[in-house]
Structures are given as structure tokens and as C-alpha cells.
């Protein structure tokens, strides 16, 4: 393979037919170029999708109380199920492999007034537990998040985001200042990073207070709006299992039929991600199919040319065989030439395609549907592998033809 003689001959053969080599190479170049473009577009779609999920733990399930649709043990349907604080601990014990769990209570079911000095703003107040931070991938910029002590001691503390800070505090440092939430003073202990995106796009940032304080101060009567938990086994089966356990636990505690799908509103992120992922896998497979298709057109071109090359070199190959070249040597020669031709042309296509996609990624702003359409290194390596395989395929038939040359006939051939 790393034989100077062989390479010299490959260059010789290509050098003698530059135009032909360029035209043939172009087909392969175009094939791999299109493959990269298509895969880049696929990656862009997928990245846009993942971006929408970035703020939630993908191995999490969220449960809301809803309305029953089936009678159960003498109870009528159409009962409202409301989750309680006590359900949180029950779920924590019922689900094996649980990682984080947090209840959430939305104060006044909507926007509340926040005031600092003369500045006021309307915000969504959420009573949450410390583990909420891991479930929503909350990033703290300054100060800290709600912690266990806040929770246990029902501290009136609050964590706000940048937009809230600007509205209420202008240039001031908000930490350890007191803001009024619907007239009740809360101490600002932290600033978190809020990224509007997905369903929360355009809305204002929520502000967080401890669930215990929310219960006490705003008289929630031990109720929560939803409970979110994450678990170790992030497989579809593991998620199903966790969901089943959670539903059964709550069914027992709230007396409803565990098969009643309307009693709880369940948002299983693993399943969501799985469903959308499979759509994207389908799109990706289709893009590979189309890309490989155009690559095959290029390969057929190279194969065709190599057949002509073999035909032209029949006499020369015959001489070589008479001088002791084994069929394997002859096959190797033709195969290497085909692989070299496709390899070089394809490499050029690969580089240009990657550059183009990088260029697009840096110029076009990311959106929810399309962002960062760059090729992963492993995809590029797969494309490269596809190239080498295609080179070998392109060379295979001509090489077989070359190996079948009988020296005696080749020497007669003029």
C-alpha cells in the first residue's frame, strides 16, 4: 500500500489523463459535498430541536392533577384530583432510582406583583423545592438557589432573573435586598440565568420562592400544582416503569382508577424526546439515503473510467504479468488508483462541505427549528469511510477485469 513504485504509477496514470480524472473526480466530489450539506441540514434541525429541550432534565416526568373519567370503587367520575405536598414524599419512596424531586406551587395561579421601592413588576411566583434546580437545569449567576434550610425554616427568600433585576433594581445589586411579593417582604438571595425559548418564549422569567414559604404565606393548604422528578434509568422502558409506579402511588393516595388516563396529566420527557428523536432519526436516515445515492452516481462514474483505464493498459498489465506480477498485485494497483481518485475528490468535497456548513452556522442565527448546522466529527469520519468503501467498490470490477487479463492475449493486443 505504501509502495513508492505503486504510487508513482498512480500519479503517472492520473497525470496522463488530467481532464478525465478531474471530470470523474467531480462526480465524487459533488456526491460527498451533497452528503455533507444534507447531513449538516439534518444536524441543524436536530440541534434546533435539542435546544428547546435544553432546560429540562430529559430523564424526568412531570405530573399534574386533572379530572377523573372513570368511576372507581363507588366513587363517581369527573372528580378533580389535586396533588398535595405529602404526595412528594410518597413518590420519593415509591420510585426506585429516583434522583431529584420537587413540587411546584404557582402563587395565585398567575402573575403577582413584585415591588422594590418605587419599581413594580408583574411576575409568576413559583414555590419550589431545592431540587428543582437540577430538574430545570437552573444556572445561578450570583448568590445561591433556594436551599434545604430555606425549605425547612420556611424562610421568605426569593431567587430572581436578570429581567426582573433590571426592572426592579435598575443598576443596584439585588442581593440581600427585600422585595415585596403581593405585599409580603422576601429577601433576594440569588440571581439565575433565564433563557426564553420553547414554550416560554416571549414570556417573562418566573421567580422562585421556597415551597414551604409559599404554602404558609399564600395559604396553599398543602396543595401543589405539579410534581416533577427525575430518575436514573433513562431508557424508554425505565421511564415507562417510573411513570407506572408514580401513577399507581398517586391512584392509591387519591382513590382513582390507575388505568384512568385522564386523572393525571403526565408529561414523560423520555417518551417525548424518544418520539421526536425517532422522527429525526428517520429524517437523518433519509438524508443519508439521498446523499449516498448521489455518491453512488459518482462511484459509477469512477468505475466506468477505471474500466477504460484497464482496457487501455491491457498490454502493459499483460507485460507486468509476464514479468511475474501476481493477480493480487494487479488488483491492488487498480484498486489503489480508484481509491486514490475517489479519496482525493471526496476529501475535497468533504472539506468544502464542512467549510460551507461552518460558514452558514456562523452567519445564520440559530432558531428553534434550525441552529448550528455543523457536522460532528464522527459523521465526517463516517462519510470518509463511505468514500473509501466507494473507492474500493469503484475499483472492484475494473480490478477484477485487470486480474483476468491473460498475458498471452494482452501481449498480442495492439
Amino acid at each position: 500500500m505504501f509502495d513508492r513504485e505503486q504510487w508513482a504509477e498512480i500519479f503517472e496514470s492520473i497525470g496522463k489523463n488530467k481532464m478525465r480524472a478531474v471530470l470523474t473526480g467531480f462526480a465524487v466530489f459533488w456526491g460527498i459535498f451533497m452528503l455533507i450539506i444534507l447531513l449538516g441540514a439534518g444536524a441543524g434541525l436536530r440541534n434546533g430541536f435539542s435546544y428547546n429541550f435544553r432546560n429540562t432534565a430529559t430523564n424526568s416526568i412531570r405530573l399534574h392533577g386533572n379530572e377523573t373519567s372513570k368511576p372507581w370503587q363507588g366513587l363517581p367520575p369527573n372528580r378533580i384530583i389535586t396533588l398535595e405536598e405529602a404526595d412528594i414524599e410518597a413518590l420519593r419512596h415509591a420510585i426506585p432510582g429516583i434522583q431529584y424531586i420537587s413540587g411546584q406551587y404557582r402563587v395565585w395561579r398567575g402573575n403577582s406583583r413584585l415591588r422594590y421601592g418605587k419599581n413594580t413588576g408583574s411576575y409568576n411566583i413559583r414555590g419550589i423545592q431545592p431540587e428543582h434546580r437540577h430538574l430545570q437545569h437552573q444556572r445561578i449567576i450570583a448568590g445561591r438557589f433556594i436551599n434545604e434550610v430555606d425549605q425547612v425554616q420556611d424562610r421568605k427568600v426569593i431567587v430572581i432573573a436578570e429581567d426582573c433585576r433590571q426592572e426592579l433594581f435598575k443598576g443596584e445589586d439585588p442581593l440581600h435586598k427585600w422585595v415585596s411579593v403581593n405585599g409580603i417582604p422576601f429577601e433576594v438571595v440569588g440571581l439565575y440565568e433565564f433563557e426564553a425559548g420553547g414554550m416560554e418564549r416571549g414570556s417573562r422569567s418566573p421567580v422562585f420562592i421556597p415551597l414551604s414559604a409559599a404554602q404558609k404565606v399564600f395559604n396553599a393548604k398543602g396543595l401543589v400544582d405539579d410534581i416533577t422528578f427525575s430518575f436514573a434509568d433513562a431508557s424508554i422502558a425505565g421511564a415507562k416503569e417510573a411513570e407506572q409506579r408514580a401513577v399507581h402511588t398517586l391512584a392509591r393516595r387519591h382513590n382513582f382508577d390507575p388505568t384512568d388516563e385522564r386523572a393525571l396529566w403526565v408529561n414523560n420527557n423520555v417518551e417525548n424526546v424518544g418520539t421526536v428523536s425517532s422522527i429525526f432519526n428517520g429524517i437523518n436516515a433519509f438524508l443519508w439515503f439521498v446523499g449516498i445515492g448521489s455518491l453512488i452516481a459518482g462511484i459509477v462514474g469512477v468505475s466506468n473510467i477505471m474500466l477504460i483505464v484497464v482496457k487501455e493498459r491491457t498490454k502493459e498489465l499483460g507485460i507486468r504479468k509476464a514479468l511475474g506480477a501476481t493477480p493480487a498485485k494487479v488488483v491492488g494497483q487498480i484498486l489503489m488508483e480508484a481509491i486514490f481518485l475517489t479519496g482525493m475528490a471526496g476529501w475535497a468535497g468533504l472539506v468544502l462541505g464542512v467549510f460551507l456548513m461552518e460558514g452558514i452556522a456562523s452567519v445564520v442565527p440559530g432558531s428553534e427549528f434550525f441552529r448550528d448546522p455543523t457536522i460532528q466529527i464522527d459523521v465526517a469520519l463516517w462519510a470518509l469511510l463511505a468514500l473509501i468503501v466507494s473507492g474500493a467498490l469503484a475499483g472492484y470490477i475494473p480490478a477484477r477485469r485487470a486480474a483476468a487479463i491473460r498475458p498471452i492475449e494482452a501481449l498480442r493486443y495492439e
Binding site: 514479468l323 511475474g324 501476481t326 493477480p327
Partner: protein
Amino acid sequence: MIVLKDIRKAYRTGANLLQVLKGIDLEITDGELVSIMGSSGSGKSTLLNIIGILDNYDSGEYRLDGMLIKGQTETESALLRSKYIGYVFQSFNLIGFKNALENVALPLYYQGVPRRKRNELALAMLERVGLKEWAHHLPNEMSGGQKQRVAIARALVADPKIVLADEPTGALDTRTSAEVMALLTEVNRDLGKTVLIVTHERDVAAATQRVIYLRDGVIENAHLDPKSLSTSMDGVRVTNKPAGDVRP
């Protein structure tokens, strides 16, 4: 060295079966300088190709250095060729885009000789045929005689036991033919190679030790005395007689 027993070979041309060799019995011992003569179509080239393991035969037995040559795979044949046989062709069959040195070194390449060693041996062989200064010239820059000498150097470079020459002077003028024959004689005498030349030129045949005369696929005379041929060729006397069939 070469033992043929009842070798038969037929070519299929359409529906017809053309019997080219009809039972050849022949023995050539180590170190002989032999020519094969015969009219065109007498089967002499086919015979040479069989001996050179470039072609197979239908029936009979061919032993080269005691080894039965039959049923070898392509790869085995290639190895046997490179070990035992050096070829010289009428049309030289040098590779056009390789210079003299590279052409001569080619058989060594297929024997896996390292590059440096290869070029050393090839250059020594070119010197032997008197073309050392032409080592880096391409074939199309050389005369026919020079090309054939390069071809002879190539045939000899891998130190084969046998040199087979198919009409080696067919494309050369008489003077150059004489030079080439002188070289082949020298190869036989000084290097001790068995040399087998197919020719239809009596001048060429006359320069060998023994002439095998072939007619219609059978050997008519396996031990024709070259002196019985009407002309001789030693580089001094050159005849302008057209080459033709020899009828003993």
C-alpha cells in the same frame, strides 16, 4: 531442464476446433541455445508460450526443472514465471512511461527486492548490455536495437534459468539483429542460461546450437544442424536474402 511429452493444444474459433499442437515431444537440457523454426501457423509461438507458462495446454505433460507444470493457479504461475523465465518479445514490450532502468528493475519489484538493491542490479545489467548511459532514457528515445537490449537486460535481471525469445529480431534490421543475436549467444555462453529462440529467420537460427523444426503442429526435426542452413550469421557476413521457410 525442459521436458515435453505429447503436448497437445487446440484453439476454439467459433464452432471450429483448431488443433495447433498435435503431440509435441521435446527435451531441452540445461545450458542449451536452441531455436525453434517453422512457418507461420506451425505452432511455434504457441509452443513457446506453453514453455513460458503464459499459456496452458490440453493434454500431455510439461516438466520444468523436474516440476510438472499443470493446474497451477494464476498466482503460482506468476511466481514460477518470475523465478524461472525471462522473456524477450518481438515488439520489445517495454513500458512506455518508465525509463530503461525502471523497466529493467520491474521483475525484481515483483519479487519483492528492495528499491535500492533493485536499481543496483538493474544498472549492473544495463551496463552488461552496454546501455548504462541510457539508464534514464524513456524507450521512445531509443533505437530498436537499444530497446531490445533493454528488454534482454530485463529478462536477465532476475537471474532466471531460461530465456525465451519470441522473434527477438523480428522488428530489427539485419545489422541490429546480429548485435542482438551476439548478445543472446553471450548470455548463453557466459551466463550459462538456457536460451530458446522462436524465429523464422534462418540467419538467427543459424547462430544457435540446435534448430527444432516445427510443421503443422508436430516436430519435423528436433535436431537440425544449424550449419545445414544456407546462411550463417556471425556479424560479419550479412545476407540480404529475404527470410523465409526452411525446407530441409
